[in-house]
């Protein structure tokens, strides 16, 4: 399936480009208006964010347009970069080295390989069963029991979040939905669009109308207004995209709600991780956004949920 052959896909991507162009235009207008120092800083960050969005949409667009394998490779790279960021923050010991090597060079490629060949059983079991048992075995064979439970838990957690959860996004393309064969790319695009637009709108609504802090001890920038307004708008946008999915409008609304709620939980959980490790961002790889993991924190949670809810009800 390609961009040219599927008109709905072309409409979705066209819509994203229009949306980004409007955002760039707004940022350009705001740039001339910001007077105060904090206002200028906010606008500068906004400009950096929008510029990075163009780059991300470009990369993702190419991945989608090159068919299933393109997006598979892209998400494998995303997993790699996310895991590299996460591992950097972990207090690991010398005895963990071998297990960490295996997470990168065996489990990460194997997980994406199983998605590529569409082997659902191994895709679902590789990390929760095989890696779950093999990694602590490798760690214990290194003979260091200091802090063992915490060390092995951290490693499991990183692999689950960065590889297992993220791989559910491209795996949407292996679902066999009646009357929707070979159109999985649109399902992936639906997930990514609703997840990311929810983030963007929560940020925007929060900045414009936010008053009541939602969870000040975890993430001081998150507001009740941002969650309700941004999340609500994202559900509306998701619903309005029903024509590109195998869902009826009300089903698209329900699934968008699942995506938005999971995304909020993901954002908060990853914020808590950053607080715990005493960093502001996972890295500085994407200007204006932080690290790869800062950008996909909500996707880590929404992808597996959306995958399994869709799989349960529609296949």
């Amino acid at each position: 399936m390609s961009l040219l052959a599927d008109r709905e896909l072309a409409w979705m991507i066209g819509g994203i480009l229009v949306f980004l162009s409007i955002a760039s235009l707004i940022a350009w207008v705001l740039k001339g208006r910001a007077r105060s120092e904090s206002g200028q800083a906010t606008v500068a960050n906004l400009v950096a964010r929008i510029r990075a969005w163009w780059a991300m949409v470009f990369v993702f667009g190419i991945a989608i347009a090159t068919g299933g394998y393109g997006s598979l490779v892209m998400f494998a790279i995303v997993s790699f970069l996310a895991m590299r960021e996460f591992m950097t923050l972990l207090p690991t010991r010398r005895a963990d080295h071998r297990a960490m090597v295996w997470t990168f060079f065996l489990f990460l490629p194997a997980q994406y390989l199983f998605v590529a060949i569409g082997w659902y059983g191994m895709f679902a079991l590789l990390i929760p069963v095989y890696a779950y048992l093999l990694l602590p075995s490798l760690q214990v064979l290194a003979g260091d029991t200091e802090d063992f439970l915490a060390r092995t838990s951290r490693l499991q957690w990183v692999l689950m979040i960065c590889v297992f959860c993220v791989s559910h996004a491209p795996a949407l393309q292996m679902l066999d939905i009646l009357g929707y064969e070979g159109q999985g790319a649109k399902l992936l695009l639906f997930l990514v669009v609703v997840t990311q637009i929810s983030d963007v709108l929560q940020y925007t609504v929060g900045k414009l109308f936010g008053k009541r802090k939602a969870v000040p001890s975890v993430s001081p920038n998150k507001t009740v207004e941002g969650y309700l307004g941004g999340g609500g708008l994202a559900v509306l946008i998701g619903t309005a995209l029903w024509w590109a999915t195998p869902f009826a409008p009300w089903q698209a609304a329900m699934l968008s709600l699942v995506i938005v709620l999971a995304g909020i939980a993901g954002g908060l959980v990853m914020s808590a991780v950053k607080r715990d490790r005493q960093v502001k961002d996972f890295s500085a790889l994407i200007p204006g956004h932080g690290g790869v993991l800062d950008r996909i924190d909500s996707l880590c949670f929404s992808a597996p949920l959306f995958f399994h809810v869709t799989r349960f009800f529609f296949t």
């Binding site: 590299r84 090597v101 990168f104 890295s283």
Partner: protein, 214 residues
């Protein structure tokens, strides 16, 4: 020539992938005058990382000092050391007897001053051997003798962070993580500065760049 450039590009790409290394410069990264970069040593990656984060113009005129017993061993390593890094291979094992030790020291020093005299820079590790990465060990006297021999050449402390976790001693494969490379402000030896004070000052200069992380 082509093979060297290809290997060089691959090494730099892999280094980027596995260490995400982005240099932070507190001295002028454009200065082409010869310098002595001295870094903490905790991984076989150290030389690759410093070498690959130098801007191309500096990289071409910089020669890492490397131990012959490791880098001179095997065809691949020797090719990388001699043809890609253009490393200055030195013998770490000192000969027996005081006279031979002195002679060996002088030879090593001559080789290093020779590089500086030909308008090129050096990368060296004054700790001598790789540490665990958790501390910086006391510096050996080589840096002092080199600074005394060429007091006008600026010395640049370099802090390498996290590389011991990426490729620790005894490990064959690296774990990709973000490393740190900080090139500190230039320093020089003072006239009549005591050997131990000078070496400790240099060590502190590296530790300062760590910002409490080492």
């Amino acid at each position: 020539m082509l093979l060297e450039r290809l290997v060089s590009a691959c090494l730099r790409g892999l280094c980027r992938l596995f260490t995400g290394a982005h240099p932070r410069w507190l001295c002028d990264p454009r200065s082409l005058a010869p310098r002595v970069y001295f870094a903490n040593h905790c991984s076989h990656l150290d030389t690759v990382v410093v070498w690959s984060t130098l801007p191309e113009a500096l990289r071409e005129r910089t020669r890492p000092v490397a131990a012959r017993d490791y880098w001179g061993h095997g065809a691949v390593r020797r090719f990388i050391a001699e043809r890609v890094f253009d490393a200055l291979l030195i013998d770490r094992k000192a000969a027996e007897g005081a006279e031979q030790v002195e002679q060996h020291r002088q030879q090593t020093l001559d080789a290093m001053t020779g590089v500086l005299d030909s308008e090129r820079s050096l990368i060296l590790y004054p700790e001598g051997t790789r540490g665990s990465g958790s501390t910086v060990q006391p510096f050996r006297a080589g840096l002092y003798h080199l600074a005394r021999a060429r007091p006008a050449v600026p010395l640049v402390p370099v802090y390498l962070g996290n590389l011991a976790r990426i490729l620790p001693k005894g490990a064959a494969l690296p774990v990709p993580m973000q490393g740190q490379v900080v090139f500190g402000p230039e320093l020089r030896i003072a006239i009549g500065e005591d050997k131990h004070m000078f070496l400790e000052r240099c060590r502190q200069a590296v530790l300062e760049l760590a910002g409490g992380r080492a």
